[in-house]
Amino acid sequence: MINFMLVIIRRDLLLVARRPAELINPLVFFVLVVALFPLGVSPEASVLSQAAAGVIWVSAMLATLLSLELLFKLDYDDGSLEQLLLAPYPAWSLVLAKVIAHWLVSGLPLILLSPLIANLLFLPTQAIPTLMLSLLLGTPTLSLFGAIGAALVTGVRGGGILLTLLILPLYVPVIIFGAAAVVAASQGMAVDGYMALLAAMLVFALMITPWAAGAALKL
């Protein structure tokens, strides 16, 4: 089964390497949304640094959602999803492999980019490690829950906006604790509690989402 998952991950990474726009577009989107915020609100450091945590987290979430739309869609369209489902392994392992590949090309670059974004929004430097760590624990959860939505809308036309409708409410806890951790860190307070909660949510997501998304793919 590990081999099966590795084949899928390797294939998906190879596909992204062939068409790097898929990797870059969500990142550009992420930077763009964040850059629009000062234009709409205020360029003042005091205002921006207060809102930074929330803005970064919401933008990261939107960028994840944007890239999730195609998680299973392309495979469904060209028929490779059928072949993946016919392999003699449980559907959850397929979902997990797809999500890992997706996170490697969407979540991980986002985390690497986040210090730069944090600077744009005048987030206190002391909060940057917390920001990265919270994203590291939070973005896989976003990808995992998003996989359920992506699986459910796979065969549906115009699934993008539908996916957003289905999944955004489920993102509420991650946003709350992710952003709160960053706020706490910028005020110099302890963040281990938040990290523990984010980690707990990741474990929880790992337990239920591959199963649910796998069931959704088999419909």
Binding site: V153, L165, I167, L170, I176, I208, A215, A216, L219
Partner: protein, 254 residues
């Protein structure tokens, strides 16, 4: 033609057969209608006209007799929808999917009523229609969850697949509801430590909570009634070719 592949006892599957459900719900329907009418009118009249005014909120608290049942129902219906969906998935029962489908819009309606009455109640209490109160916020998220379920159910044309997809989403949503509620409550205390919660009174006199109990029970009956009616409609839609339906007294007009 008979089916021999069922693993559950026969009565259980009879329960899931459209014909059995149609007959049974037809018998239950009037009872729930009478109960809902009685309980709701009794509870509403008592609560709105006869219960004593609140010493703090005056008469404005009376909207509670609409708000609280709606809020309670909005959550139980979501859970009920998930349970029906799970039954549908596990035992391949078409009727269970129909029941789940019937729950969506009635649940969303109760959620909307809870939000609107909450806003109306909030005006005299907080001085604003909308406050980011923990209960209101999690009810808003619940409304979004309903919106998602409704959108998904309508986006998939094939009923059987739509039923299963909706069931999966409802189950995942239900598992998440406690986490969402907890996180929103926690977030609320972080940002508004001094917020005054609407319905958490230390103790309510019996003249105030008895009508509330009646309206809650009445709302449950109303909900069951609507679900029965809507499910029967779906049975007629999907089984329109079945011979038992053609001969049924309700349909043939005998």
């Amino acid at each position: 033609m008979t089916q021999s592949s069922w693993r559950m006892p026969r009565w259980f599957h009879q329960m899931g057969s459209p014909k059995w459900f149609y007959d049974f719900s037809g018998k239950m329907q009037p009872w729930f209608a009478v109960l809902a009418l009685l309980l709701l009118s009794w509870g509403m009249a008592w609560g709105l006209a006869f219960a004593p005014a609140d010493y703090q909120q005056g008469n404005s608290f009376r909207i509670m007799y609409v708000h609280v049942p709606a809020a309670i129902l909005s959550q139980s219906i979501f859970i009920g929808m998930a349970v029906a969906g799970a039954i549908g998935i596990v035992w391949k029962m078409k009727v269970a999917f129909m029941v789940a489908r019937s729950c969506i819009s009635i649940g969303a309606s109760f959620t909307l009523i809870a939000l609107l009455t909450g806003a109306i109640w909030g005006k005299p209490t907080w001085g604003a229609y909308w406050v980011w109160d923990a209960r209101l916020t999690s009810t808003l998220v619940l409304l979004f969850l309903y919106a998602g379920v409704m959108a998904l159910n309508q986006a998939i044309t094939e009923r059987q697949i739509a039923g299963k997809a909706t069931a999966i989403l409802a189950i995942v949503g239900t598992i998440n509801i406690p986490i969402i509620k907890y996180s929103v409550e926690w977030w609320n205390t972080l940002h508004q430590a001094s917020s005054f919660s609407l319905t958490q009174k230390p103790s309510m006199p019996a003249e105030m909570y008895m009508p509330l109990l009646l309206t809650v029970l009445g709302s449950y009956c109303l909900f069951v009634l609507v679900v029965l009616i809507r499910t029967r409609t779906q049975i007629i839609e999907t089984q329109s070719h079945a011979s038992w339906l053609m001969q049924h007294k309700d349909v043939s007009g005998a």
